[in-house]
């Protein structure tokens, strides 16, 4: 037998493995096939007859075992991962991947404090209160990085901004806004040096708060306020709902594996 026949043996084996692995999630399947292929390559490189001896190649494949058994082991691992992540008590939401699992645990005291500080901390203690919320947010292991980023960026200051605007707006409401105030103007009668009677008309000087009509200004203000309040509130609800994941890949496996 020559080289290509041995390669054919390997290709057949990997083909059977690929076929059997169709049942697995795509990423696990791809990884498994890659690792088995690398194993075969490594084994052939280590064995003096591995490249050319058909018997050596057959032995390598024999020791690897039946592709069905390998896929079964991978499926058991996937099942065990999912079972390990499952906790009946927490809020459920769509999983984030094979190892993500459903929501578990929910928001604990740390998470609730984080959300409270983020939302209103900035109002109670301007700026510092909100920063305390950010610290708690990032310290918690129960949010994924993406959620933490949203929590930080969607509401810098939390409700501080709309609260400040409300207070400023309340004060400003006492003063009529977007009104044109005109002073001066009128006409003045005078006599020129040649004795003619002239009337000067002075246009009134008007100052106005821009050329914006009142209704438009108020509408824009209402929209901005809705966003400034809605954003932090939405993010607060989202964070509370999504609490409960330790990010995939970090600790928290069962102490004793589940025998399949």
């Amino acid at each position: 037998m020559n080289l290509s026949d041995n390669d054919q043996l390997v290709a057949d084996y990997l083909g059977r493995l690929d076929q059997a692995a169709r049942a697995l999630p795509a990423d696990r399947r791809a990884e498994l096939i890659e690792e088995i292929a690398l194993h075969i390559a490594e084994a052939r490189a280590a064995d003096p007859g591995g490249l050319s001896e058909p018997l050596a190649v057959r032995n390598i494949l024999e020791r690897l075992g039946d592709p069905q058994d390998i896929v079964r082991a991978a499926a058991e691992a996937a099942f065990a991962d999912a079972a390990a992540d499952y906790r009946p008590a927490g809020p459920r939401h769509t999983g984030t991947g094979p190892a993500g699992g459903d929501g578990r645990g929910g928001a604990g005291p740390l998470e609730i404090c984080a959300v409270l500080f983020l939302l209103v901390g900035g109002v109670v203690i301007p700026v510092l209160g909100w920063i305390a919320g950010v610290v708690l947010l990032w310290v918690s292991p129960r949010w994924q990085t993406r959620d933490k980023l949203i929590g930080t960026l969607v509401w810098p200051g939390g409700l501080l901004a709309p609260a400040a605007v409300l207070i400023a707006g309340g004060a400003a409401a006492l003063i009529p806004a977007s009104e044109t105030v005109c002073t001066g103007g009128g006409s003045e009668a005078g006599i020129t040096t040649s004795g003619q009677r002239i009337v000067h008309h002075f246009p009134p000087t008007c100052t106005g708060t821009g050329g914006m009509p009142a209704w438009l200004g108020i509408t824009i203000l209402v929209i901005l306020m809705a966003l400034a309040i809605g954003g932090p509130v939405y993010t607060a609800i989202r964070l509370l709902r999504r609490a409960g994941h330790a990010p995939a890949g970090q600790a928290a496996g069962p102490a004793v594996p589940i025998p399949a």
Partner: protein, 122 residues
């Protein structure tokens, strides 16, 4: 016990214990996948098919109990090196104490002469 039954039992026990054996092998140094598989398959009763170890390794990685790095190898394809993490060490320590307690209990039961054996004739 029928031979097949005992074999089945051993297979089940092995499945539960094997991840911790891998962690134990990684305690002192990092090793690459092929190396781990070769060592395990050399141990009596440890492995059925060598290929079934790879899903196990992948699971350890997903649990955060090992970290992997790819390194170029002079002699062949790139190698995936496995290194135990702090979480892995903790899990291993917990398993070790559980195992000692459990296997000690079973050993005691196996060693003690049975009381009131049914086939004893007075």
């Amino acid at each position: 016990m029928v031979a097949g039954e005992a074999g089945n039992l051993v297979a089940q026990m092995r499945r539960g214990v094997l991840p911790y054996c891998v962690l134990a092998m990684l305690q002192d140094k990092e090793r690459y996948g092929f190396e781990l598989v070769q060592t395990l398959s050399g141990m009596d009763g440890m492995v059925t098919g060598e290929g079934t170890i790879y899903p196990l390794l992948a699971r350890l990685r997903r649990q955060g109990r090992v970290e992997t790095t790819w390194q170029e190898s002079a002699a062949g394809p790139p190698r995936r090196y496995y290194r135990i993490t702090l979480a892995g060490r903790e899990a291993l320590a917990e398993f070790a104490s559980s195992w000692r307690r459990f296997s000690g209990t079973v050993d005691d039961l196996l060693a003690s002469p049975g009381e009131g054996r049914a086939d004893e004739t007075a």
